[in-house]
Symmetry: C2
Subunit: 371 residues, 2 copies
Amino acid sequence: MSGDPRLTALAASLPAAVPFVGPETQERRSGRGFRARLGANESVFGPSPRVREAIARAGAEAWMYGDPEMHDLTRAIAAHHGIDAAHVKVGEGIDGLLGVLVRLLVAPGDAVVTSDGAYPTFAYHVAGFGGVLHKVPYRDDREDAEALMAQAAEVGAKLVYLANPDNPMGTWLSAGEVQTAIAAVPEGCLLILDEAYADCAPDGVAPPLAPADPRVIRLRTFSKLHGLAGMRVGYAIGPAPLIAAFDRVRNHFGVGRVAQAAALAALADTAWAGEVRGRIAAARDRIGEIAAEAGLRALPSATNFVTVDCGGDGAFARAVLAEMGRQGVFLRMPFVAPQDRCVRVGCGTEADLDLFARVLPTALSAAARAA
Amino acid sequence: MSGDPRLTALAASLPAAVPFVGPETQERRSGRGFRARLGANESVFGPSPRVREAIARAGAEAWMYGDPEMHDLTRAIAAHHGIDAAHVKVGEGIDGLLGVLVRLLVAPGDAVVTSDGAYPTFAYHVAGFGGVLHKVPYRDDREDAEALMAQAAEVGAKLVYLANPDNPMGTWLSAGEVQTAIAAVPEGCLLILDEAYADCAPDGVAPPLAPADPRVIRLRTFSKLHGLAGMRVGYAIGPAPLIAAFDRVRNHFGVGRVAQAAALAALADTAWAGEVRGRIAAARDRIGEIAAEAGLRALPSATNFVTVDCGGDGAFARAVLAEMGRQGVFLRMPFVAPQDRCVRVGCGTEADLDLFARVLPTALSAAARAA
């Protein structure tokens, strides 16, 4: 092999770009650490003390591969939801599950539908397997389920992606609206219902589970409410034949022993989950107040972040974001207009939000001066 | 989507079989736990106490995604080997890295060469991306590098796989033999040199690193000597353009924060690595003695396991393995004749090997009665 690696035609066609630049990369570039890490939709409230104990205990067993069937965790998740374990597949976070799902269903040239500005990692996986992405605009800062299904029918999509509650906007469709969308999934198409934030949302956002329904696969994660983004555990709930198909291509030992132990402990600690839900709700209110005091509008949110309309265009919001970063507050923002008039603020600790409140007015002034 | 999932033609063609059945699955089937876990080439000596501390500490930070660039760990690995970080890519264990590598290089129909009986997970990934596997027999229980390269040339292989030291046999090629093999890699082909066990081996097994060499990519892991199989961290060392190409398709946040912290601590604890190397060497000797006392021959090993010739055919060795399992000792064995006359015994603790020594004669008797 001489010179360039002899990549497949597909791999050679892919950009070197990555879906997200991490906050650590920004810190290394600037030479300064962030003082409030509010940009990655993580849970600053952390994993529960019991989960931390479980991680420490599992460290002594880290020499053993994790159970590749993930038997105990899968059954605990199934019991938690009151469904059969044949409908559950655990994977390396929703990112990992999306990769497997796209690989199973999308051949080069296959059509896939998503919202313009929705989760970039899904688009990354679709491109990575040669799928052709068709995008539908948001409507009033919410995913437009009707337009998504119409587009899926029009292009004969294999997959259509819908996040509910939505990232990056924090908005949601009601359970009834989602059920209407499921009923409209075209024949031959599968709806990926990304519910990463569902357990941060109030009742009435996630429709009841109907795991045998062949039209939809639902994705959940331990990265958000449970504070385990750094452990990489998510799961899919879907029809048994599709769930079983994951075994054909997944990395069987990919969810390690410590990660499985952490997720199992997180699932059991319902008191902590309830407490974090309360802290998230309080932080959402506080972010709304801080935004209002600065003359801005916070969008309604059913997630662990709040998207704040900066009141200008994308360039203005990017200037706000950059200045927030310089002041030590890590945020992210939507990529696509007109949603990119907003910045996305994670539900921080009181100290995090105190800093956010202090810095926001000066960031707005700086952005206004730069405009 | 009604009925069966609309898989791609490739996914639909894949078997539901998995590369390995985990010991936990066997335990669930039998209703009994193993008393000695010696079948998965894990390090029973565990991660170092410092690594366990690092895991416990990192648990408090598990709410944060890991750095997707894996900056600190990548640089620590590069410094450890005295090479530039542009030649290093960390991934979710060698299994994860193999998946990415095959995906980058193997399109449906592309030829790939490996040894018959070599690492099944590599074959699994090749099949999973539609590659066509050509197999070369072992020669005197060692991988036959000359035949591998000749076969690669004959079929125009994109990839040729060579494990050194070898799994499942524990045998090795000398550094000189590997360098001869590298010199014989056909134009347009890449050698995957799987060195999972290289840091369990004596000097003179792994050739010096020449990371810019476009003919070879080398794979290392924290799962073996460092006792972190349950954390999923491995790395590739190779030419910078190929290493950079991983970013086009890999799961960027796939190596979590706790896993990165654990690997970093493991790399720093050279005293522990040295101690484990000594324990492995002692256990290898002891397994050889136990085998000899039972009238069997242990193959020479440069790994953390010893492959023991049971003195019969595959059916006999399978009977020995099954009886060992019933007696509480988890082992695995080669899949392919004539290597399947052997069982593979991990370097256990003294208590593990005491049990192995006690059980082996009765397992041999039971297998002889069954024959």
